[in-house]
Structure formats: C-alpha cells, structure tokens
Symmetry: C2
C-alpha cells in the first residue's frame, strides 16, 4: 500500500486524522486502491491532494468486523488553501471580517505559519468534506471493479460510491480532549450560565451553534411572558381586562422577539463569518436522478429532470395526498371526541373502578394513534419528497419541512381548536393544553436524549470488550475511538429540535390568554432541554459535519406564521370569554365587530413593526457597507488604471498617425 500514501506525509510527522471513510466489507481491492489514489493525487491531476491512511495496516492479520476504515487528513498548507476554496471568512488584524485568501494570510488575526489552530477543527473537517465531495470523475466511465456503477465526467465520485453502496459513511472524528473541555464548560458546572456558543461553534459548526443560540435566546425571550403569567395562576385572576392585557402583550412581544432574533442572529453569524460567506454553487443532491442532459446553468453533462414534471408531482400528487392526510387526521380526532363522550356516558351509567379506568382509554388510544400517524406520515412525506425529485438538497429540505410542519401543526393543535371554537369549553381547553404541553415535553426529553444515551452506553461497553480482544499493531486508543464512533447513531440535523421549539411556541402563544402558565413550563423545559441536547450532541451521536449557515432559514418564516395565527386565535378566544360577553349584553354584533377591528389593528401593528425594526443592527450594516465599498473602490482603481493606459495608447497611436 506504499503507493497510496501521499507524498506529503513524509513532511507531516504529526498526521492528524480528521475524517473517517468507511467502505463496504466486500469492496474490491482495485476500487480501494483507485479511491485512495484519487484522494492523494495532486490537484492538477484532478485529485484532492489529501492524506489518507488505512486504520489498520493490512499485514496486521485478519480481524473480525468490517475494517475497511480509512483515516483522512491534510497538511496545514493544504487546509489553508482549502479554506480559500470554500470561501471561509475569518477575522482580520483590524477586527474586520474578510474572506480568507492564502496570499493575504498574514493580515488575519492569530495567523502564524506554525499555528495549526488557526482553523477550528470543525472548519478543517468541513474543508476535507468539501474536497472529498468535489472529487470528480475525469475520464472514468465507471467505478473500477463495479461496471454497473456508471460515472460521467464531472460526476462527484463520493456521491456515486455512496449511491452504489460501496461507501458506507464518511464522518468526522471526535477530539476527545476538546470534547471533554467543551462538555465541562457547557454542562460541567451546575450554575446556570450562558451557553458557550463560540466553543460549540468551533466544535460542531455554525448550524448547531445557531440552534443552541436560538434555544437560549428563545428561553430568555419567554422569561417576561412567564413572569407576567405567574400571578395569573397564583392569584387566580380571571378578569377580562387582565387577560386582554396579557394577550396583547404576548402578541406584540412575540413579534418583537422574532424581529430582534434576526438582529441577534446577524451579530452572531457576522462574528462567525458565515453572514459574509458567499453561497457556493449547489450540487444536485445524492438521490436526484434523471436522464443525462445538459444543465442549462453549468453547461455540464449531468442528469436533468423537467421542472414541469416536478410541479405536476407536487401539485397533483403530493398536495392532494397531504390534504387527504390532514382530513384523515381530523376524522380520527372526531372519533376520539365521540369515544370520549361515550366513555363519559358509560362511566355515568355504571360507575365502577373499571369505568373510571375506561375514562382514560380514549386519550391513551388517541395518543398512540397520533404517534403512529406521525411516524407513518413522516415516512410518507420523506418518500413523496424524494419522489418529487428535487435537484437541490435545500429545496428538498424545504418541501419536506413544509409537509411535516403542516401535519404536525394539525395533529398537535386540531383538538385544541375543536375544544375552543366548537365546544366552547375553556376549562377543558386549559386542561388539555396543560396535559398536552407537559406530557409532550417530558416524553420528548426521554425519547430524544435519555433513552438513546442509555442504549449508547450499553453498546459502548460491548464494543470496548470486542476491541480489547483484538490485537493490532496500531495506536489502540485511536482504534477504539474509531470503532466506537462508527457505530454511534447519526445526528439527522436540527429539524426535530426546531420542530419541538415550534410546537412549544404554538402552545405558548396560540392560547396564551387562556393558559398564561404555558410560558413558565416552556422556560423550565428549555433549561433542561439545553442540557439534554448537549448530552445528545456530545455523548450519543456521531460527530456531525459542520455546516456554515447565516440564519435559521425556513424556521424564521414558520415562527412568524405561527405568531400571525396566534393573533387570530387569541382575539377569537377573548371574544368568546364570558367576561367580555357580559360587557355586551344586548348586541353580540358589536362585540364581534370590536374584536375583528382589534384583530386587524394588531395584525397591522405586527406588519408595521416587522417593517420598522431593521433586520441587522446598525454597526453590522456599516461593516457590511464598508466591505462593499472597499470592493467597489478596488474595482474602480483597477478600471481607472486601465482607462489611463488605454487613453494614453490611443493618444500615442493617433499622434503617430498624424
């Protein structure tokens, strides 16, 4: 295997593995050799120019388990050049943020030729992932050893290996030292403190740090609501004017926090450099298929799929299917309410211990059915979205999120809407809301973090035992670490975490004037949530690749939509309350008109506020404007020089002609 080693590792005495590549057990030698060759090959030969090393030398004898594991690393210089390729933005000596270029490396803060920590580990791993994904077929028509795995020039090799089942996974390695430090600052101390967002970002990357930033921000933002909500519970306030005040405060407050979040987000991502990072050209997602054609944007040969066909699939299949599911979910809800009344009647007729137990039956059945529907629907949504065949991962994600969001919204809130606006039973509404909120919070934390943590721990012990039984002539701790991590679950992204917060926001804001205590529970939940999410990230899952991001994307829109809906529901609830009805004993019409008017004014206020509050703080705006100005000035200087030269030449030429 000597030839598969890079020419560089002789110069790099401290080869530091950053990323692990796991190939299938039965991968052919020929394929392995070709792949490692392509990875270490020079850039100019179309390689990635990285360092690669098998985890176990082949002469170490036969070992059980799949041992087609490769460690990938890169020289310091290679990483710096890669940082330029991915367009990393770093802080300069003058505290401004600039796109890193190798030639201007000395103007960057903390840069020194021997400072290997200039790039965070998350950034280094991101660069390697980017370089591996951009390893493209040259003249190969197929993967060597696998004639059925076709390639065409420009096709990403890693993606084809993945879809052909040869490549099992690529994942970044944990840094045990760093992880320990991070865990200590994050959750090591018992005292409540801000989360170490910068450290999280250095270790896990921007997407995850931004999620924790949002979680923290959202929790702080809920505190005023919770504080105002407590006296309502303590003193059992039931006055009309107090509820109206609380609801109005809530509605305006939720607008303010969502707008201010954009500013906080801009501050954070500016500091992290992702606000300025140029969007890379997006590759087709791995699952995308189509007939080979010419991409109109790149002019390259690649699979193309008609946009009209996709539109037809979306509007004629997915949309009706989603509507059907929503209808079905509503139907199930109606059955639940019928069962509920039936159980109540049964209990009243023959009161017994058994009938009392029967009272709980409908709720339990409904909860189980909802959970099942959620899971089945999630699969269906994933299948449909894949079948829609979106070219870009981002558009795939957006369509998936939209589908899941709508269904979850209905499942969680339909029964509450029914109780509020069909049954008009505010007592029951409050009770259901409390039950739903609290049980879902407890269940979530258990299913999402504690249970996997416990399973993981048990599994780790097994793996360790197996590892110790094998004798290999490799650094044992690294060998153990890789084997432990490769079997860990994969973190599937922040989707479920955001969804949880989104539904929580719904519980807090949709019916806030009925149950002011919801905010208190949300705050309490979020404090433990931070801990459990940290546990999940550090102990349960494989380390995820860092993902630069400048905002929370479609979730911002989802939260804003929820806050608009909550204006409507809160106004309607206030209009329904008996206290308000008592104020208009003669004319219900006047009452409704006033409520509708108030609703419209609140909605208008929301839009004006969203318009007036700038999305970026002034100093960030100035910094961005300065960067734009500088690049314009540089361009102008260049043009002026060119112009002066051209004019001079022309004058010269004409003079000669005269």
């Amino acid at each position: 295997m000597k030839e598969s080693w890079s020419a560089f590792d002789t110069f790099e005495p401290h080869f530091r593995p950053l990323v692990i590549i796991e190939l299938a057990k039965d991968t052919k030698e020929e394929t392995k050799e070709w792949l490692t060759q392509r990875i270490v090959d020079k850039k100019k030969n179309g390689g990635a120019q990285l360092l690669v090393k098998p985890l176990v030398k082949e002469d170490g004898g036969k070992i059980d388990g799949n041992q087609n594991l490769y460690l990938v690393g890169a020289s310091h210089l290679r990483l710096l050049l890669g940082a330029e390729t991915v367009g990393l933005v770093k802080e300069c000596n003058d505290n401004s943020m600039r796109t890193f270029t190798y030639s201007s490396r000395n103007t960057f803060k903390d840069f020194a030729e021997d400072n290997h920590d200039f790039l965070t580990m998350a950034e280094r791993q991101y660069i390697i992932k980017h370089e591996l994904e951009n390893l493209r077929a040259k003249d190969e028509r197929m993967i060597p050893g696998y004639p059925q795995a076709k390639l065409y020039p420009g096709k990403s090799i890693m993606r084809r290996l993945m879809t052909s089942g040869i490549l099992l996974q690529i994942f970044p390695l944990h840094d045990t030292e760093e992880l320990k430090k991070l865990w200590y600052t994050w959750c090591g101390q018992v005292k409540i403190s801000y989360q170490p967002l910068d450290e999280i970002r250095c270790y896990f990357g921007e997407t995850i740090a931004l999620y924790f930033g949002f979680l923290e921000y959202f929790t702080f933002a809920l505190v005023p609501m919770a504080l105002i909500g407590i006296p309502y519970y303590v003193f059992a306030w039931e006055d009309y004017d107090k509820y109206v005040m609380f609801a109005s405060f809530n509605l305006l407050w939720s607008t303010v926090i969502l707008e201010v979040w954009k500013r906080c987000c801009a501050i954070m991502t500016y500091k992290w450099g992702t606000l300025l990072m140029k969007r890379q050209f997006e590759e087709p997602r791995p699952g995308f298929h189509g007939v080979l054609g010419i991409n109109p944007v790149t002019g390259r040969e690649e699979p193309v799929y008609s946009s009209i066909k996709r539109q037809i699939r979306i509007y004629l299949v997915s949309l009706p299917f989603v509507c059907l599911c929503l209808y079905f979910s509503l139907y199930v809800m109606m059955i639940y309410f019928e069962l509920e009344t039936w159980a109540l009647d049964f209990h009243e007729e023959n009161e017994s211990y058994f009938s009392k137990l029967m009272l709980f039956l409908p709720s339990i059945i409904y909860a189980i059915v909802i959970e099942m529907m959620n899971r089945v629907y999630r699969y269906a949504a994933e299948f449909l979205t894949s079948w829609e065949n979106h070219r870009l991962e981002s558009s795939h994600q957006n369509h998936l999120i939209l589908k899941v969001l709508v269904f979850n919204f209905l499942n969680c809130f339909a029964s509450l809407f029914y109780i509020a606006f069909v049954l008009f039973d505010m007592k029951l509404l409050r009770q259901s809301l409390a039950t739903l909120l609290i049980t879902s919070q407890i269940l979530n934390q258990f299913v999402e973090a504690l249970l996997p943590y416990w399973l993981q721990k048990r599994h780790n012990k097994k793996v360790k035992k197996r590892v110790y039984s094998i004798k290999v002539d490799t650094d044992l701790s690294l060998f153990e670490q890789v084997n432990l991590e490769k079997e860990m679950g994969t973190y599937l992204g922040t989707f479920d975490d955001y969804l949880e917060l989104f539904l929580q926001f719904g519980y807090v804001s949709l019916f806030s004037c009925v149950y002011p205590l919801a905010a208190v529970f949300a705050v309490l939940n979020n404090i433990t949530e931070m801990y459990f999410d940290a546990l999940k990230m550090c102990r349960v899952f494989k380390r995820p690749f860092s993902q630069p991001t400048a905002n929370i994307g479609v979730w911002q829109l989802a939260f804003e939509t929820m806050s608009v809906i909550s204006v409507v529901t809160n106004c309607a609830l206030i209009g329904l309350s008996p206290q308000v009805n008592a104020l208009f004993p003669d004319s219900k019409t006047d009452l409704i008109l006033i409520v509708v008017l108030a609703e419209h004014i609140l909605l208008a206020l929301k839009f004006v506020m969203a318009f007036v509050i700038p999305d970026k703080p002034r100093d960030i705006q100035i910094k961005l404007a300065r960067l734009e100005f500088e690049s314009l000035e540089a361009l102008k200087q260049q043009q002026m020089k060119l112009a002066a030269e051209s004019l001079k030449e022309e004058t010269h030429g004409k003079k000669k002609m005269n």
Copy 2:
C-alpha cells in the same frame, strides 16, 4: 479660451454636445476657467477627461440673457471607458447579458470600433453625468473666486457648485432627429399598439421606460376587470352572488397581476441590463449637512449626522405632524358632510334656483380645500423630509413618498370610507366614487399635460423670436435648441405619475363590488394617459437624465398594501349589502362571522399566492444562476492555479531542506 479645450477635440472632428452646463450670470472668470480645466483634465490628474466647449465664443460680442452655457461631450473611447466605470450591462454575442468591460469589448453584440451607436444616447448622457458628479476636490479648500464655498478632499465639486448657487443646472440635450422618430412610433400613428418601450428606454432611460411599461401592463391587466364589469352596468345586475363573484375575482386578480408584474419587470430589466447592474456606492444627497467627521463606511472625511438625532426627528416630529395633518383632514371632511346636510336641508326648505346652486357649493368648496391642503401638505412633507436630513437620496425619497402617500390616500378615500361604513349609503357611495374618479382623471390630464404643453408652446415662440434677433457666429440651430431647452420645465421624476396610478388602483379595487364600472373608466383614462404622458415627456419638459433601475421600488409595496386593504373593504361591503343581509334574517352574528372567515381565507390565499408565484421567470433565473456559476468557476480556477503553485513551492522548499 484655447487652453480650456481638451487635447482630444483635435482628434474628434464631430464634437457632439451631450450635456449642457449652465452657470450663474455673474460667475467669476476664474471659477469658469478652473471648472472647465477640471472637466477636461486627465483622469490621473483627478479630472473627468471630458470635452467642453462654451456655447458662444466669447469674442462673439455681448449677448443678452445668461450665456454662461457650456456644451459637454466626450470621445467615443472615453465613453466606453466610462461605461465600464458605471458598470453598464450590455448584450453579448452569445445573447447573454454581461457587465461591459473595455478589454472584452469585442465580445459584445453590435460592437465595432467605429460604431458610435453602441451606447444609446441616454447611456452616454448618464455616463457624462456620472463622471461630472464624481469630479472631486483634490487639495482645493474652496471654489476659486468664492471663498465662502468650502471644499474638502473628496467632496463632489458639482454638488458644491450647485449648493453655492454658481451652477444653475446640468441637463442632457434632446436629439431632435431621434425625438421625431420616437414621437412618430410612439404617438404618430392613430392605431392602438404596444408602446415602443425599447425605444423609450434608449432615449429616456430605464426609469421612465419602466413607468410606461407599468402603465401599459396595468392597463392590459385592468381589461379583464373592465370586461366583466360592463354587463353589471348594462344589465343592471344587483344579485348578491354576482357581486360576490366579481369582488372575489377582483381580489385574486389584483394579487395575480401584482405578482406577474414582478416577472414582467424582471424580463424587461434583464433585457435592458439593469437587473444585473451592481448598485453603485451612493453619495450623500446635495442637501445633506452635518459636522465634518469620518464616514464609518468609506473612512473619508465628510459631513456626518447622527442617526439617533434623525430617528428622533422622524418619530417625535414628523410622525406626530403627519398624524395631526391626517386628523385635520378628517376634521375638514366632517365639516364637509355637515355642510352637505345643511345645504340639503336649505334646499328642501326653500326650493329655488339659488338653493339648487347651493347644493353644489359644499362639494366645490371641499374640492378646493382638498387641493389646497394637498399642496400645502406636499410642501410641508418636503420640508420635513429635508429637515430629517437623510444622507441618501433613496432614503429621502422613500420617506417623502411614504408621507405623501398616506395623506393622499386619506384625502381621496376617507370620504368614501365614511359614506360606506358610517352612513351605509351605497347609492351615494357609487355616485361619489364615479364623480371623484372621472373628475380627477379629467383634471389630472389637463393640469399635468395639456396646460403645460400650451404654455410651453407660447413660451417657445417668444424664445425663438429673441434668438433670431441675436446674431452669433455659432451654429444657429444648436444655439436655438439650447436656449429653448434650458427654459423648459424640469421633469421631477415619476412620483406624480405613479401616485396617479396608485390612486386609480384604489378607486378600482377598494370598492370594486359597488361600482364595477370603475375599471372601464380606468382603462379609458390610461389609454389617453399614455398619449398625454408621451406628450409631456417629448414636448413639455427638459430631457431628463436616464436613471438605471431594476424595479418600481417602493411602489410595488404600495400597490400590494392597497390590494390587502381592498380585501378588507370589499368583504365589509359585501357583508353590508342588503341582499346578503336578507340571507341571514335571524342572526347578524352568523353573517359577520362568515364574512370575517371569508376575509381571512382570502387574505391567506393572497399570501400563499404571493409566496408560490416566483418573482422571476424560470429562464431569467437560469440566466442569473449561470452568470453566478461562471464567476464562481472563474474564482475557483484562479484559486486552484494559485494553490498548485503554492504547493509546488512548498514541496520544492522542503525537498531542499531535506
């Protein structure tokens, strides 16, 4: 004056005057000489390197009138280099749009070294204006001859001359031949045809062409509404369901047309190159003042003004003032309605010819008062916005538009709202709507185009007489043309034209279910409006400078807001109609709830539609993506070359070390 001539005009036998500079009568010789010197000076010496020529040679003897007129032109080469500086986007040979650069000039369509029509005249004038405005002070501390007119390095000379009253005006010259041709294709034929938008754009620039494009689009978009509206009038339909249908159609249609306009606008501005044009760094507007400080963006010394002070002025002075004006306007309206009832009573008591005349009096008085208020308010708004001291012209314009828009909206529609929702008098509403719409349309076209045209014609005759009485040894036709044009009125931008369309859109959509015929009148008006606006542009006003623009800016938002408001008003009107009320004889509550529900559904539909319809057509999206991809690829190639070199060097260095 020999030395004030550019070194180039010896090479440019056909000096073509493009722009006129008019200085004050008593401008000192020293200042004139300095200015012309700066204009012709080489770029590298900080000049504009343009050609300049006094309209009348000084030895032509004493002439009456102000004759400090200078013709400014530029060599073909200079204009091409200027096109690069302003970032003009032109069509390439492969039909793609690219930013023009002098070095790549041969790849552009229709480019030839001797084709002086490669740049349209509007573009050439825009370039000269840009170059003149960017003529900046070097080490001058003041304008020579005017010690009180301070300068500082980097200050735009033309702006200081303007604010000191030395420079009276800069305006582009008409091209009589081109203008005749344009007028013929525009309005010469009697047949109704599309407007020659590309020709308008070549002559007047993008802002004005886009206005005419919008006018045309809007007229076509109104045709379906008008066609559906006619049978309501002809057959005197008064059925509930027909009105509801018309209103629903109207509301969804108005959303569709506003969304589709964005697409049409993108198609047009892509073809014109302005969609791709990079925003230039905006200079402070001429009226901006402040203490000399360091601009945080540019790092240059220039007047700065605290943003907090401006916010205080906006929110603590302007906002209350506008609210007060709105209140006052409502108050005047109430007086009008009182006068109206008083006149009616008077007429009923003592019926006579005089009392019949008295019936019209309140309307006449109200119309006059409204017109006066409008004018006074316009001055106040302009004063306040200037006093707010916005740094940028765009932000100044936005604040001015917002102020004027709100007031005009109230003035035009408050009485209609009052009639509809306080008096509940649908007959009167229809009558008032018709009167207001038709009179405002007729008056507008008269005041805006016909009257100025007539005045201008009379004035032209006078000027011609005076010109012929003077004997000068200059090209008489040019002399006459300049003298005619310099006295023409200045076109103050598209603000009033858009405002007229905006109010018209209000008349058509706000109460569409009461008066379906409004769309018919709007269509008729717009057809003549096109003619009168063309007349105004070609015959009445000085030629305006071209202004590259990619969209109709804040007006898009204004029209969208109007369409949201019209959902609310139409739903309310339908709810008020006796036919609908007859359907719910027992319960008004149900009626209101259903109307409110329908309104919310319509609003939600509008937002979903606005979200689903893409702002740019697919082919434009692809073209934009292709450009972005190409620039990313170019960058990557460059980086890869650099990377390969750096790696090679390092390998080399290390090998040597070994």
